[in-house]
Amino acid sequence: MTDLIPEFSWETVFLTPWREDVDLTIWIVATGFLVTTACGLIGHYLLLRRLALVGDAISHSILPGLVAAFAITGTTALWASMLGALVAGLVTVALIELIHRHSRIKPDAAICIVFTTLFALGVAMMSVLEAQGSIHLDADCVLYGEMTWVAIEPPLQIGGWTPVEMPGPVLRLLLLVGVLVAGIAFFYKELLLTSFDPGLARALGMRTQAWHYGLMGGLALVVVSVFESVGAILPVAMLIVPPMFAAELSDRLSIRMVWTVVHAAAAAVLGMHLAVWLNCTAAGAMVVCSSALFVLVWVGGLAVRRLRLRRVMRGGGA
């Protein structure tokens, strides 16, 4: 047991990473921050539409798409895995619809059936290919990603010219967050209305179904982009927990978005230090910190409300 939790020292946990491995530390924190921000921003809409677990489903079910793309094209190029994942995402949505519409299975069970089956298919394909020795994919990566590895990748190069001195995946994540922020800022009104009051949106002549599929497409894009760094299971945490944290602090969506970003930054930094201290996976540690932050505001909020209630009661009695 004593081996498990290394001795805590302020020096090694908080100062060394910034003194010695500054580059690595910065890129790990940046990756965590960008991943959590991207997931958190789109997660708000999932939470508002009560689709939180659809995010879970899609992040699981892209696995067979990734494996199939790799097996067919034989490359690990981004376009191939993106294509495979998008196809898998579409198949997921279509299958859920099919089962839900043409049988009496309830939607929750339909979601569960489809994504677990597709995930099983992905793992089975992976292990068969592995047993044949043709390719090797990492089961650990599926479970919790490879954030540390992502951070030490070489920078993106275009014909020998390096546009920015940052690891390729970090740049891609930065682009993703940029696209998301731009998209949300541009369509803020529409997304807000279709999420909060689909009935009114329809009455105003908006195509709510199209917006729904657009959002699902965005979700698939996010989940595929973060797969490399956090795997297939942890994205659900990053999709759900930051918006839940923000929802405890504000009722306005725009302010909640700002809180998400703050939360992402805090979770990334704290998670990195936790990972250094406990010598565990960075992605997992960031989610632990993110959850802990939520628990903090949750319990804090409860305590504040209780205190306020007591003060009111006392005032009423006097």
């Binding site: 498990l4 677990l53 089956t117 099983a120 793992v123 089975a124 090797h136 945490a237």
Partner: protein
């Protein structure tokens, strides 16, 4: 942090690193696999033969354990499916991970009992957290479930990687908890599984009535004084048992599939909860056994995915071919129904044609019929051929005229009678206007049963004429067959 990854660093892209990681991951797998496959290192057929002859003791254990867990999960899954708690199963199955890790840490070995206790406690803590979140925040059920899944799983993942980095721990056993390896089931595990299976079965049998009523009508259950909340928690406890029992062979990530998929297949096949529980258990056993087989025959691949894929195949079969709720069977039934309606409409058109010429003749010209039905001659010939095949009409050799067979005449009379009786019923009893009743009768005429028709006739005092003044064919006309026809009009005219 770089110390947390003891893998070789390469400068390749992320995917190539996954490849490297996969290689490293294979090492413990291979070590584990050697235990069973040292006897058998041959081709698929020989492995299959070995599987079915039950030669290996360890293989027998693996198979027995898989079947026990399949039954356990299928049984509990039935309750999850009818209570719409499928995603709760998913959440809890992820939430047990920290419990597994802590149970492992107890003795730093894969002690089944410690892991069982740790995982059950973690599962219950997860279920309690979901309830607490629901009660104290505005968040919806899905968010609460997602939070529990995420938070617990990430804690588990952290513990997991910390254990992997411990010097000298036998971590190979723990790896199996992710994607499952039935071959890793030992004698002790199977004993524990058997105890769990018996306990779950007994609890479900004893409390079946209570679970049934709380599942379908919690309000009623509360009103007759059942402790609904306590029953819910006891069900969660049993669920945690089922999940923990399945961990070894199915793996954490896929346990929810073994809970939901066999039960969902059973849900498509029956409307009775008791039968559904039994069928769910049976499907679970089948899926688990075939998953264990494929995993063994394919040189110890992870068992979980193959069990889930077998279960999915069973579900797909039920989804397509279930007698009442199957997609294809329903499609086929609707097709047959539509074809019958088409046939009956044509018979009715023939009757109308005969009626128009006061039943002087028994033969109807195909051309006239085609005009009446607004179809081309070819279409009409095809439709008549179908009627001929069913023995309802006879078409003349030159295919220009057609006449009823006795059976066809009977059916045509019945349909016309149904149509007109229904029109009459609507105008007399439901106060419809006479010009509004046709469309309704057009669809109902194909559905009225003999008993309903008799009741209608009685209620309408055996009326002879419909609201438009046309004659309603009576029992006598229907039984007389195609030979005699005109009497109706004469008799009707006299009335």
């Amino acid at each position: 942090m770089s110390g947390s990854k003891k893998k070789r660093i390469s400068t390749a892209s992320g995917w190539q690193m996954l490849v490297l990681g996969g290689l490293l991951l294979l090492l413990p797998t291979a070590a584990q696999a050697a235990r069973i496959s040292e006897l058998v290192d041959t081709d698929f057929a020989q492995r299959a033969a070995r599987f079915f002859t039950f030669q290996d003791a360890s293989l027998r254990d693996a198979l027995l354990g898989s079947m026990l867990l399949g039954g356990c999960c299928g049984m509990m899954g039935a309750f999850l499916v009818v209570r719409k708690l499928a995603l709760m199963g998913d959440s809890l199955s992820h939430a047990v991970l920290p419990g597994v890790a802590l149970g492992f840490l107890w003795h730093l070995s894969k002690d089944p009992v410690a892991i069982f206790i740790g995982a059950t406690l973690a599962g219950l803590l997860g279920a309690g957290t979901v309830q607490l979140l629901r009660r104290t925040t505005r968040h919806q059920e899905d968010a609460a479930l997602g939070f529990v899944l995420a938070a617990f799983f990430s804690i588990g993942i952290c513990l997991f990687t910390m254990i992997q980095n411990l010097p000298g721990s036998s971590k190979s056993g723990l790896d199996k908890f992710m994607f499952g390896q039935a071959a890793a089931l030992g004698r002790e595990d199977v004993m524990l599984l058997a105890v769990v299976a018996v306990a779950v079965t007994m609890a479900v049998t004893l409390l079946f009535k209570e679970y049934r009523v709380t599942s379908f009508d919690p309000g009623f259950a509360r009103s007759i004084g059942l402790p609904v909340q306590a029953l819910h928690y006891s069900l969660m406890l049993l669920l945690a048992f089922a999940i923990v029992s399945a961990l070894q062979a199915v793996g954490i990530v896929l346990v929810s599939a073994m809970l939901v998929i066999p039960a969902a297949a059973a849900y498509l096949l029956t409307d009775r909860l008791s039968l559904m529980v039994l069928l769910g258990a049976a499907f679970g056993v089948m899926a688990a056994a075939s998953g264990a087989f494929f995993s063994f025959a394919g040189s110890n691949l992870p068992t979980g995915p193959f069990m889930v894929l077998s279960a999915a195949a069973i579900f797909a079969a039920a989804f397509l071919f279930a007698p009442r709720h199957g997609w294809l069977t329903r499609w086929w039934r609707e097709r047959c129904q539509a074809a019958r309606v088409r046939r009956e409409n044509l018979l009715k058109a023939m009757y109308h044609a005969l009626e128009q010429c006061s039943f002087i003749t028994e033969q109807i010209s195909v051309r006239e019929l085609a005009e009446r039905r607004r179809q081309t001659l070819e279409e009409m010939h095809a439709a008549l051929r179908e009627l001929e095949r069913h023995g309802l009409v006879t078409v003349a050799a030159d295919r220009s005229v057609v006449s009823f067979t006795p059976a066809g005449w009977q059916r045509a009379c019945e349909i016309v009678r149904n149509h007109r009786l229904w029109e009459l019923y609507l105008t007399r009893s439901a106060q419809y206007a006479a010009d509004h009743v046709h469309d309704d009768a057009e669809s109902v005429e194909h559905l009225l049963s003999e008993a309903t028709v008799m009741q209608l006739e009685k209620q309408l005092n055996y009326a002879r004429r419909d609201p438009h003044g046309k004659l309603i064919p009576g029992l006598a006309d229907i039984q007389r067959g195609a030979r005699v026809t005109p009497r109706d009009t004469e008799a009707g005219g006299m009335l």
